[in-house]
Protein backbone atom coordinates (compact mmCIF):
# COMPACT_ATOMS: atom_id res chain seq x y z
CA UNK A 1 0.00 0.00 0.00
CA UNK A 2 1.37 3.36 -1.06
CA UNK A 3 -0.27 6.42 0.47
CA UNK A 4 0.52 9.92 -0.67
CA UNK A 5 -0.98 12.76 1.32
CA UNK A 6 -0.89 16.46 0.30
CA UNK A 7 2.53 16.03 -1.25
CA UNK A 8 4.35 19.17 -2.36
CA UNK A 9 7.80 18.88 -3.82
CA UNK A 10 10.42 21.36 -4.95
CA UNK A 11 13.96 20.51 -6.12
CA UNK A 12 16.63 22.10 -3.95
CA UNK A 13 17.58 25.54 -5.35
CA UNK A 14 14.54 25.64 -7.66
CA UNK A 15 11.88 28.26 -7.08
CA UNK A 16 8.68 26.53 -8.08
CA UNK A 17 7.01 23.40 -6.85
CA UNK A 18 7.25 20.53 -9.33
CA UNK A 19 4.51 18.59 -7.52
CA UNK A 20 1.56 20.32 -5.92
CA UNK A 21 -0.93 18.92 -3.46
CA UNK A 22 -0.76 15.30 -4.65
CA UNK A 23 -2.90 12.85 -2.70
CA UNK A 24 -3.50 9.27 -3.75
CA UNK A 25 -3.65 5.71 -2.50
CA UNK A 26 -2.45 2.71 -4.46
CA UNK A 27 -3.25 -0.75 -3.15
CA UNK A 28 -2.02 -4.22 -4.07
CA UNK A 29 -3.18 -6.01 -7.22
CA UNK A 30 -3.73 -2.81 -9.24
CA UNK A 31 -2.51 -1.70 -12.64
CA UNK A 32 -1.96 2.03 -12.61
CA UNK A 33 -1.06 4.19 -15.59
CA UNK A 34 0.44 7.64 -15.11
CA UNK A 35 0.32 9.99 -18.09
CA UNK A 36 1.09 13.66 -18.66
CA UNK A 37 3.12 15.93 -20.90
CA UNK A 38 6.91 16.25 -20.83
CA UNK A 39 8.08 17.86 -17.63
CA UNK A 40 4.72 17.47 -15.89
CA UNK A 41 6.35 15.70 -12.94
CA UNK A 42 5.74 11.99 -13.52
CA UNK A 43 9.28 10.82 -12.91
CA UNK A 44 9.54 13.14 -9.91
CA UNK A 45 6.39 11.56 -8.46
CA UNK A 46 7.49 7.94 -8.81
CA UNK A 47 10.86 8.74 -7.25
CA UNK A 48 8.89 9.46 -4.08
CA UNK A 49 7.51 5.93 -3.97
CA UNK A 50 10.78 4.35 -2.82
CA UNK A 51 12.11 7.35 -0.94
CA UNK A 52 14.66 8.57 -3.51
CA UNK A 53 13.01 11.95 -3.13
CA UNK A 54 11.41 13.11 0.10
CA UNK A 55 8.38 15.42 0.15
CA UNK A 56 8.99 19.10 0.82
CA UNK A 57 5.54 19.17 2.44
CA UNK A 58 3.10 16.35 3.12
CA UNK A 59 4.12 12.68 3.34
CA UNK A 60 4.45 9.40 1.48
CA UNK A 61 3.88 6.15 3.34
CA UNK A 62 4.75 2.70 2.03
CA UNK A 63 3.04 -0.12 3.93
CA UNK A 64 2.34 2.39 6.67
CA UNK A 65 5.94 3.57 7.01
CA UNK A 66 6.89 7.17 6.26
CA UNK A 67 9.58 7.29 3.53
CA UNK A 68 11.58 9.73 5.62
CA UNK A 69 11.96 7.16 8.40
CA UNK A 70 13.89 4.41 6.58
CA UNK A 71 16.60 4.04 3.93
CA UNK A 72 15.96 3.93 0.19
CA UNK A 73 17.21 0.33 0.20
CA UNK A 74 14.55 -0.60 2.76
CA UNK A 75 11.72 0.71 0.58
CA UNK A 76 13.26 -0.48 -2.69
CA UNK A 77 12.98 -4.07 -1.53
CA UNK A 78 9.21 -3.59 -1.63
CA UNK A 79 8.97 -1.02 -4.42
CA UNK A 80 11.04 -1.81 -7.49
CA UNK A 81 11.74 1.08 -9.86
CA UNK A 82 12.82 0.50 -13.44
CA UNK A 83 14.15 3.70 -14.98
CA UNK A 84 13.88 4.80 -18.55
CA UNK A 85 17.51 4.58 -19.61
CA UNK A 86 19.25 1.19 -19.18
CA UNK A 87 22.55 3.03 -19.68
CA UNK A 88 22.07 4.51 -16.23
CA UNK A 89 22.27 1.19 -14.44
CA UNK A 90 24.12 -1.45 -16.44
CA UNK A 91 27.65 -1.89 -15.10
CA UNK A 92 28.41 -5.56 -14.44
CA UNK A 93 30.83 -7.78 -16.31
CA UNK A 94 28.16 -10.35 -17.15
CA UNK A 95 24.40 -10.40 -17.66
CA UNK A 96 24.13 -12.84 -14.75
CA UNK A 97 25.92 -10.54 -12.31
CA UNK A 98 23.85 -7.59 -13.44
CA UNK A 99 20.72 -9.35 -12.22
CA UNK A 100 22.42 -10.67 -9.10
CA UNK A 101 23.62 -7.20 -8.04
CA UNK A 102 20.44 -6.06 -6.31
CA UNK A 103 19.85 -9.45 -4.70
CA UNK A 104 23.31 -9.30 -3.15
CA UNK A 105 22.65 -5.76 -1.90
CA UNK A 106 19.45 -6.89 -0.25
CA UNK A 107 21.35 -9.70 1.47
CA UNK A 108 19.64 -12.73 -0.02
CA UNK A 109 21.29 -16.13 0.47
CA UNK A 110 23.58 -17.44 -2.27
CA UNK A 111 21.23 -20.30 -3.11
CA UNK A 112 18.19 -18.06 -3.42
CA UNK A 113 20.15 -15.58 -5.52
CA UNK A 114 21.10 -18.29 -8.01
CA UNK A 115 17.54 -19.53 -8.20
CA UNK A 116 16.02 -16.07 -8.68
CA UNK A 117 18.58 -14.91 -11.26
CA UNK A 118 18.09 -18.07 -13.30
CA UNK A 119 14.33 -17.64 -13.15
CA UNK A 120 14.46 -13.99 -14.21
CA UNK A 121 16.84 -14.59 -17.12
CA UNK A 122 14.79 -17.52 -18.39
CA UNK A 123 11.59 -15.57 -18.03
CA UNK A 124 12.91 -12.75 -20.21
CA UNK A 125 14.63 -15.00 -22.75
CA UNK A 126 18.05 -13.77 -21.75
CA UNK A 127 19.51 -16.96 -20.26
CA UNK A 128 21.59 -17.66 -23.39
CA UNK A 129 23.47 -14.40 -22.77
CA UNK A 130 24.22 -15.07 -19.12
CA UNK A 131 28.03 -14.99 -19.47
CA UNK A 132 28.10 -12.16 -21.97
CA UNK A 133 28.80 -8.50 -21.19
CA UNK A 134 25.46 -6.72 -20.81
CA UNK A 135 26.86 -3.79 -22.79
CA UNK A 136 26.82 -5.95 -25.91
CA UNK A 137 23.04 -6.53 -25.79
CA UNK A 138 20.73 -4.63 -28.15
CA UNK A 139 18.76 -1.65 -26.86
CA UNK A 140 15.56 -3.63 -26.37
CA UNK A 141 17.40 -6.50 -24.70
CA UNK A 142 19.06 -4.09 -22.28
CA UNK A 143 15.67 -2.77 -21.36
CA UNK A 144 14.45 -6.31 -20.71
CA UNK A 145 17.54 -6.97 -18.62
CA UNK A 146 16.70 -3.99 -16.40
CA UNK A 147 13.20 -5.32 -15.94
CA UNK A 148 14.58 -8.77 -15.14
CA UNK A 149 17.01 -7.32 -12.61
CA UNK A 150 14.13 -5.72 -10.72
CA UNK A 151 11.60 -8.56 -10.94
CA UNK A 152 14.31 -10.90 -9.65
CA UNK A 153 13.92 -9.68 -6.08
CA UNK A 154 10.14 -10.00 -6.26
CA UNK A 155 8.99 -6.56 -5.06
CA UNK A 156 5.32 -5.94 -4.29
CA UNK A 157 5.19 -2.79 -6.39
CA UNK A 158 6.82 -2.61 -9.79
CA UNK A 159 7.16 0.85 -11.27
CA UNK A 160 8.11 1.21 -14.93
CA UNK A 161 9.19 4.56 -16.37
CA UNK A 162 8.53 4.58 -20.14
CA UNK A 163 8.86 0.82 -20.60
CA UNK A 164 7.80 0.75 -24.27
CA UNK A 165 10.33 3.21 -25.69
CA UNK A 166 12.42 1.39 -28.30
CA UNK A 167 10.53 -1.89 -27.94
CA UNK A 168 9.23 -3.74 -30.98
CA UNK A 169 5.59 -4.81 -31.22
CA UNK A 170 6.26 -8.31 -29.97
CA UNK A 171 8.03 -7.10 -26.86
CA UNK A 172 5.19 -4.71 -26.10
CA UNK A 173 2.70 -7.56 -26.30
CA UNK A 174 4.90 -9.63 -24.07
CA UNK A 175 5.18 -6.78 -21.58
CA UNK A 176 1.40 -6.57 -21.38
CA UNK A 177 1.25 -10.29 -20.67
CA UNK A 178 3.88 -9.96 -17.95
CA UNK A 179 2.07 -7.05 -16.31
CA UNK A 180 -1.21 -8.96 -16.33
CA UNK A 181 0.49 -12.01 -14.87
CA UNK A 182 2.07 -9.94 -12.09
CA UNK A 183 -1.32 -8.58 -11.16
CA UNK A 184 -2.74 -12.08 -10.79
CA UNK A 185 -0.01 -12.60 -8.17
CA UNK A 186 -1.44 -9.62 -6.28
CA UNK A 187 1.43 -7.33 -7.27
CA UNK A 188 0.86 -3.75 -8.33
CA UNK A 189 2.34 -2.41 -11.54
CA UNK A 190 2.61 1.33 -12.09
CA UNK A 191 3.41 2.35 -15.65
CA UNK A 192 4.53 5.82 -16.69
CA UNK A 193 4.11 6.16 -20.44
CA UNK A 194 3.32 8.40 -23.38
CA UNK A 195 2.07 5.44 -25.37
CA UNK A 196 -1.77 5.68 -25.29
CA UNK A 197 -2.30 2.49 -27.28
CA UNK A 198 -0.16 0.54 -24.85
CA UNK A 199 -1.91 2.08 -21.85
CA UNK A 200 -5.31 1.26 -23.33
CA UNK A 201 -4.39 -2.40 -23.75
CA UNK A 202 -3.56 -2.53 -20.03
CA UNK A 203 -6.98 -1.13 -19.08
CA UNK A 204 -5.49 0.45 -15.97
CA UNK A 205 -6.60 2.91 -13.38
CA UNK A 206 -5.31 6.04 -15.07
CA UNK A 207 -3.83 9.11 -13.40
CA UNK A 208 -3.31 12.25 -15.47
CA UNK A 209 -0.79 14.85 -14.34
CA UNK A 210 -0.46 18.35 -15.69
CA UNK A 211 2.01 20.87 -14.26
CA UNK A 212 2.53 18.82 -11.13
CA UNK A 213 -1.16 18.52 -10.30
CA UNK A 214 -3.31 15.41 -10.57
CA UNK A 215 -6.09 16.48 -12.91
CA UNK A 216 -7.80 13.12 -13.25
CA UNK A 217 -7.72 9.79 -11.47
CA UNK A 218 -10.09 7.02 -12.48
CA UNK A 219 -10.51 3.92 -14.62
CA UNK A 220 -9.14 4.48 -18.09
CA UNK A 221 -12.50 4.24 -19.85
CA UNK A 222 -13.92 7.19 -17.98
CA UNK A 223 -10.69 9.17 -18.25
CA UNK A 224 -10.59 8.78 -22.02
CA UNK A 225 -14.12 10.18 -22.18
CA UNK A 226 -13.09 13.51 -20.68
CA UNK A 227 -12.15 15.55 -23.75
CA UNK A 228 -11.29 18.79 -21.98
CA UNK A 229 -8.87 17.15 -19.53
CA UNK A 230 -7.23 15.11 -22.31
CA UNK A 231 -6.67 18.25 -24.29
CA UNK A 232 -5.19 20.01 -21.27
CA UNK A 233 -2.65 17.20 -20.88
CA UNK A 234 -1.96 16.97 -24.60
CA UNK A 235 -3.08 13.35 -24.78
CA UNK A 236 -4.80 11.82 -27.80
CA UNK A 237 -7.39 9.07 -27.54
CA UNK A 238 -6.54 5.44 -28.25
CA UNK A 239 -7.71 4.35 -31.70
CA UNK A 240 -10.15 1.83 -30.26
CA UNK A 241 -11.85 4.61 -28.30
CA UNK A 242 -12.04 6.74 -31.46
CA UNK A 243 -13.59 3.80 -33.26
CA UNK A 244 -16.19 3.40 -30.54
CA UNK A 245 -17.09 7.10 -30.60
CA UNK A 246 -17.38 6.94 -34.37
CA UNK A 247 -19.76 3.97 -34.21
CA UNK A 248 -21.72 4.91 -31.09
CA UNK A 249 -24.46 3.78 -30.43
CA UNK A 250 -23.95 0.80 -32.72
CA UNK A 251 -21.51 -0.71 -30.23
CA UNK A 252 -22.13 -0.32 -26.54
CA UNK A 253 -18.56 0.23 -25.24
CA UNK A 254 -15.03 0.67 -26.57
CA UNK A 255 -13.31 -2.66 -27.29
CA UNK A 256 -10.39 -3.42 -24.98
CA UNK A 257 -8.19 -4.90 -27.68
CA UNK A 258 -8.09 -5.75 -31.35
CA UNK A 259 -9.54 -9.21 -30.81
CA UNK A 260 -12.61 -7.81 -29.13
CA UNK A 261 -12.90 -5.09 -31.75
CA UNK A 262 -12.91 -7.72 -34.44
CA UNK A 263 -15.66 -9.78 -32.86
CA UNK A 264 -17.71 -6.63 -32.25
CA UNK A 265 -17.32 -5.65 -35.90
CA UNK A 266 -18.30 -9.10 -37.10
CA UNK A 267 -21.38 -9.07 -34.91
CA UNK A 268 -22.26 -5.64 -36.20
CA UNK A 269 -21.84 -6.65 -39.84
CA UNK A 270 -23.94 -9.76 -39.35
CA UNK A 271 -26.66 -7.62 -37.82
CA UNK A 272 -26.60 -5.31 -40.87
CA UNK A 273 -26.99 -8.14 -43.39
Amino acid sequence: MIEVESLYFKYPLANDYVLKNISLKIGLGEVVGIMGGNGSGKTTLIKHFNGLLKPTKGFVKVFGKDTRKESVAYFSKKVGLVFQNPGHQIFSDTVWNEVAFALKNFGFEEEIINKRVKWALEFFNLIQYKDMSPLLLSGGEKKRLCLASVLAWNPDFIILDEPTVGQDFLQKEKLIEIIKMLVTQNKTVIVVSHDVEFIWLLQPRLILISNGIIVKDGDCRSVFKDDSVLEKCGITKPQLVELYEELYPLIERPPVDIVEARSMMLKLLRGLK
Binding site: L13, K47, S71, A73, F83, G87, Q89, F91, F101
Partner: protein, 244 residues
Protein backbone atom coordinates in the same frame (compact mmCIF):
# COMPACT_ATOMS: atom_id res chain seq x y z
CA UNK B 1 25.14 16.21 -5.79
CA UNK B 2 23.31 19.01 -7.52
CA UNK B 3 24.71 21.76 -5.36
CA UNK B 4 28.09 20.74 -6.70
CA UNK B 5 27.05 21.57 -10.25
CA UNK B 6 25.53 24.81 -9.02
CA UNK B 7 28.87 26.04 -7.80
CA UNK B 8 30.72 25.34 -11.01
CA UNK B 9 28.41 25.85 -13.90
CA UNK B 10 27.49 28.97 -15.84
CA UNK B 11 23.86 30.00 -15.65
CA UNK B 12 22.25 32.67 -17.78
CA UNK B 13 21.93 35.74 -15.60
CA UNK B 14 22.11 39.47 -15.92
CA UNK B 15 24.49 41.75 -14.04
CA UNK B 16 27.04 44.49 -14.68
CA UNK B 17 29.80 41.91 -14.77
CA UNK B 18 27.96 39.46 -17.04
CA UNK B 19 27.44 42.14 -19.66
CA UNK B 20 31.17 42.92 -19.98
CA UNK B 21 33.23 41.72 -22.90
CA UNK B 22 34.41 38.20 -22.00
CA UNK B 23 38.01 39.24 -22.64
CA UNK B 24 37.67 41.84 -19.88
CA UNK B 25 36.22 39.23 -17.55
CA UNK B 26 39.12 36.96 -18.35
CA UNK B 27 41.63 39.71 -17.64
CA UNK B 28 39.99 40.53 -14.29
CA UNK B 29 39.96 36.88 -13.32
CA UNK B 30 43.52 36.42 -14.50
CA UNK B 31 44.86 39.46 -12.65
CA UNK B 32 43.35 38.29 -9.40
CA UNK B 33 44.64 34.81 -10.08
CA UNK B 34 48.20 36.04 -10.69
CA UNK B 35 48.12 38.37 -7.71
CA UNK B 36 47.01 35.43 -5.55
CA UNK B 37 49.96 33.42 -6.83
CA UNK B 38 52.47 36.07 -5.89
CA UNK B 39 50.95 37.36 -2.65
CA UNK B 40 52.57 36.23 0.55
CA UNK B 41 51.00 38.00 3.54
CA UNK B 42 47.66 37.57 5.24
CA UNK B 43 46.98 41.25 4.71
CA UNK B 44 47.31 40.88 0.93
CA UNK B 45 44.96 37.96 0.90
CA UNK B 46 42.37 39.87 2.91
CA UNK B 47 42.39 42.58 0.23
CA UNK B 48 42.33 40.08 -2.64
CA UNK B 49 39.54 37.97 -1.18
CA UNK B 50 37.50 41.10 -0.43
CA UNK B 51 37.89 42.16 -4.05
CA UNK B 52 36.88 38.69 -5.26
CA UNK B 53 33.82 38.61 -3.01
CA UNK B 54 32.88 42.12 -4.07
CA UNK B 55 32.95 40.94 -7.68
CA UNK B 56 30.86 37.97 -6.60
CA UNK B 57 28.25 40.34 -5.18
CA UNK B 58 28.30 42.60 -8.25
CA UNK B 59 27.82 39.64 -10.58
CA UNK B 60 25.20 38.01 -8.32
CA UNK B 61 27.09 34.73 -8.19
CA UNK B 62 28.39 35.03 -4.63
CA UNK B 63 26.22 32.21 -3.34
CA UNK B 64 27.47 29.81 -5.95
CA UNK B 65 31.03 30.99 -5.52
CA UNK B 66 30.79 30.17 -1.83
CA UNK B 67 29.49 26.73 -2.77
CA UNK B 68 32.57 26.14 -4.91
CA UNK B 69 34.71 27.15 -1.96
CA UNK B 70 32.84 24.91 0.48
CA UNK B 71 33.29 22.09 -1.98
CA UNK B 72 37.04 22.68 -2.10
CA UNK B 73 37.25 23.01 1.68
CA UNK B 74 38.27 19.36 2.00
CA UNK B 75 41.34 20.13 -0.10
CA UNK B 76 42.01 23.30 1.86
CA UNK B 77 41.98 21.38 5.12
CA UNK B 78 44.24 18.73 3.60
CA UNK B 79 46.70 21.34 2.36
CA UNK B 80 46.64 23.06 5.73
CA UNK B 81 47.21 19.82 7.65
CA UNK B 82 50.00 18.61 5.37
CA UNK B 83 51.82 21.91 5.65
CA UNK B 84 51.61 21.81 9.44
CA UNK B 85 52.69 18.17 9.55
CA UNK B 86 55.67 18.78 7.29
CA UNK B 87 56.78 21.35 9.82
CA UNK B 88 55.86 24.75 8.42
CA UNK B 89 54.54 27.22 10.96
CA UNK B 90 50.90 28.13 11.46
CA UNK B 91 51.01 31.48 9.62
CA UNK B 92 52.62 29.93 6.56
CA UNK B 93 50.03 27.10 6.47
CA UNK B 94 47.23 29.64 6.73
CA UNK B 95 48.71 31.66 3.88
CA UNK B 96 49.01 28.59 1.64
CA UNK B 97 45.37 27.69 2.37
CA UNK B 98 44.21 31.24 1.69
CA UNK B 99 46.15 31.22 -1.57
CA UNK B 100 44.37 28.06 -2.63
CA UNK B 101 40.97 29.60 -1.84
CA UNK B 102 41.89 32.80 -3.70
CA UNK B 103 43.04 30.86 -6.76
CA UNK B 104 39.88 28.79 -6.87
CA UNK B 105 37.48 31.68 -6.35
CA UNK B 106 39.26 34.09 -8.70
CA UNK B 107 39.15 31.61 -11.57
CA UNK B 108 35.53 30.80 -10.78
CA UNK B 109 34.65 34.46 -11.49
CA UNK B 110 35.32 33.96 -15.16
CA UNK B 111 33.59 30.58 -15.44
CA UNK B 112 30.52 31.64 -13.46
CA UNK B 113 29.96 34.77 -15.52
CA UNK B 114 30.92 33.67 -19.06
CA UNK B 115 28.90 31.27 -21.17
CA UNK B 116 30.63 28.49 -23.13
CA UNK B 117 29.97 30.56 -26.26
CA UNK B 118 31.86 33.49 -24.79
CA UNK B 119 34.67 31.16 -23.82
CA UNK B 120 34.77 30.02 -27.44
CA UNK B 121 35.00 33.61 -28.68
CA UNK B 122 37.73 34.53 -26.22
CA UNK B 123 39.82 31.54 -27.16
CA UNK B 124 39.38 32.36 -30.83
CA UNK B 125 40.49 35.93 -30.31
CA UNK B 126 43.69 34.42 -28.92
CA UNK B 127 44.15 32.61 -32.28
CA UNK B 128 44.36 29.14 -30.77
CA UNK B 129 43.83 26.17 -33.10
CA UNK B 130 40.11 25.58 -33.48
CA UNK B 131 40.19 21.86 -32.71
CA UNK B 132 41.72 22.65 -29.36
CA UNK B 133 39.13 25.35 -28.67
CA UNK B 134 36.33 23.03 -29.64
CA UNK B 135 37.57 20.23 -27.40
CA UNK B 136 37.97 22.60 -24.45
CA UNK B 137 34.61 24.34 -24.86
CA UNK B 138 32.82 21.03 -25.34
CA UNK B 139 34.38 19.69 -22.15
CA UNK B 140 33.14 22.75 -20.23
CA UNK B 141 29.72 22.49 -21.83
CA UNK B 142 29.38 18.83 -20.89
CA UNK B 143 30.05 19.23 -17.18
CA UNK B 144 26.38 19.83 -16.27
CA UNK B 145 25.23 17.06 -18.61
CA UNK B 146 27.56 14.56 -17.00
CA UNK B 147 26.54 15.64 -13.51
CA UNK B 148 22.91 15.13 -14.47
CA UNK B 149 23.81 11.64 -15.69
CA UNK B 150 25.57 10.98 -12.41
CA UNK B 151 22.46 11.93 -10.44
CA UNK B 152 20.29 9.60 -12.48
CA UNK B 153 22.77 6.75 -12.22
CA UNK B 154 22.97 7.14 -8.46
CA UNK B 155 19.16 7.10 -8.29
CA UNK B 156 19.04 3.92 -10.40
CA UNK B 157 21.58 2.07 -8.30
CA UNK B 158 20.08 3.23 -5.01
CA UNK B 159 16.79 1.80 -6.23
CA UNK B 160 18.60 -1.50 -6.57
CA UNK B 161 19.68 -1.45 -2.96
CA UNK B 162 23.12 0.17 -3.30
CA UNK B 163 24.01 2.07 -0.13
CA UNK B 164 26.89 4.31 -1.08
CA UNK B 165 27.57 5.72 2.35
CA UNK B 166 27.73 2.34 4.07
CA UNK B 167 30.78 0.40 5.19
CA UNK B 168 34.42 1.22 5.88
CA UNK B 169 36.53 3.39 3.60
CA UNK B 170 37.49 0.57 1.21
CA UNK B 171 33.93 -0.62 0.94
CA UNK B 172 32.83 2.95 0.24
CA UNK B 173 35.29 3.34 -2.59
CA UNK B 174 34.06 0.06 -4.05
CA UNK B 175 30.49 1.33 -3.73
CA UNK B 176 31.27 3.88 -6.42
CA UNK B 177 32.02 1.24 -9.07
CA UNK B 178 28.34 0.77 -10.03
CA UNK B 179 28.14 4.55 -10.45
CA UNK B 180 31.42 5.19 -12.24
CA UNK B 181 31.16 2.46 -14.87
CA UNK B 182 27.80 3.59 -16.33
CA UNK B 183 29.01 7.18 -16.12
CA UNK B 184 32.13 6.43 -18.16
CA UNK B 185 30.23 4.26 -20.63
CA UNK B 186 27.59 6.96 -21.11
CA UNK B 187 30.26 9.59 -21.67
CA UNK B 188 32.03 7.48 -24.28
CA UNK B 189 28.76 6.76 -26.08
CA UNK B 190 27.88 10.44 -25.98
CA UNK B 191 31.22 11.56 -27.39
CA UNK B 192 30.95 9.02 -30.20
CA UNK B 193 27.47 10.26 -31.03
CA UNK B 194 28.69 13.82 -30.93
CA UNK B 195 31.54 13.03 -33.30
CA UNK B 196 29.20 11.35 -35.75
CA UNK B 197 26.66 14.15 -35.57
CA UNK B 198 29.39 16.71 -36.20
CA UNK B 199 30.83 14.86 -39.13
CA UNK B 200 27.40 14.53 -40.70
CA UNK B 201 27.18 18.30 -40.46
CA UNK B 202 30.51 18.76 -42.22
CA UNK B 203 32.65 19.73 -39.24
CA UNK B 204 36.11 20.75 -40.46
CA UNK B 205 35.06 21.05 -44.09
CA UNK B 206 35.86 24.72 -44.56
CA UNK B 207 39.25 25.86 -43.38
CA UNK B 208 38.27 29.42 -42.60
CA UNK B 209 35.68 29.73 -39.84
CA UNK B 210 33.54 32.77 -39.45
CA UNK B 211 31.49 33.60 -36.44
CA UNK B 212 27.95 34.85 -35.97
CA UNK B 213 28.94 37.00 -33.03
CA UNK B 214 32.14 39.01 -32.91
CA UNK B 215 33.64 40.69 -29.89
CA UNK B 216 33.81 44.47 -29.67
CA UNK B 217 35.02 46.54 -26.76
CA UNK B 218 32.44 49.05 -25.62
CA UNK B 219 33.03 52.15 -23.59
CA UNK B 220 32.32 50.41 -20.29
CA UNK B 221 34.76 47.66 -21.23
CA UNK B 222 37.56 50.20 -21.66
CA UNK B 223 36.55 51.81 -18.41
CA UNK B 224 36.59 48.55 -16.43
CA UNK B 225 39.85 47.54 -18.06
CA UNK B 226 41.51 50.82 -16.95
CA UNK B 227 40.02 50.48 -13.49
CA UNK B 228 41.36 46.95 -13.25
CA UNK B 229 44.83 48.06 -14.34
CA UNK B 230 44.85 50.97 -11.89
CA UNK B 231 43.81 48.76 -9.00
CA UNK B 232 46.40 46.13 -9.81
CA UNK B 233 49.18 48.75 -9.98
CA UNK B 234 47.91 50.33 -6.78
CA UNK B 235 47.88 46.96 -5.04
CA UNK B 236 51.43 46.18 -6.09
CA UNK B 237 52.65 49.64 -5.07
CA UNK B 238 50.88 49.37 -1.74
CA UNK B 239 52.44 46.01 -1.03
CA UNK B 240 55.90 47.32 -1.82
CA UNK B 241 55.36 50.29 0.43
CA UNK B 242 54.36 47.92 3.19
CA UNK B 243 57.40 45.81 2.69
CA UNK B 244 59.61 48.88 2.95
Amino acid sequence: MFWLAEGLVYRRQESIIHSLDPRVKLIISLSLFLLSLFSSTIFEFIILLSAIFLLGVLSKVLRRMIKTITFSLTFVIMIFAINLLVGYDLIFSIIISLRFIAIISSSSIFFLTSSPDELDLVMRSLHLPYDLIFAFVTAVRFVPVILLDAVQIIDSQRSRGLEIEKGNIFKRIRNYIPVLIPLIVQSIIRSEELAEAMESRAYGFSKKRTSYYTLHFKRKDYFVLCLNLTLVVLFILLIHLFHL
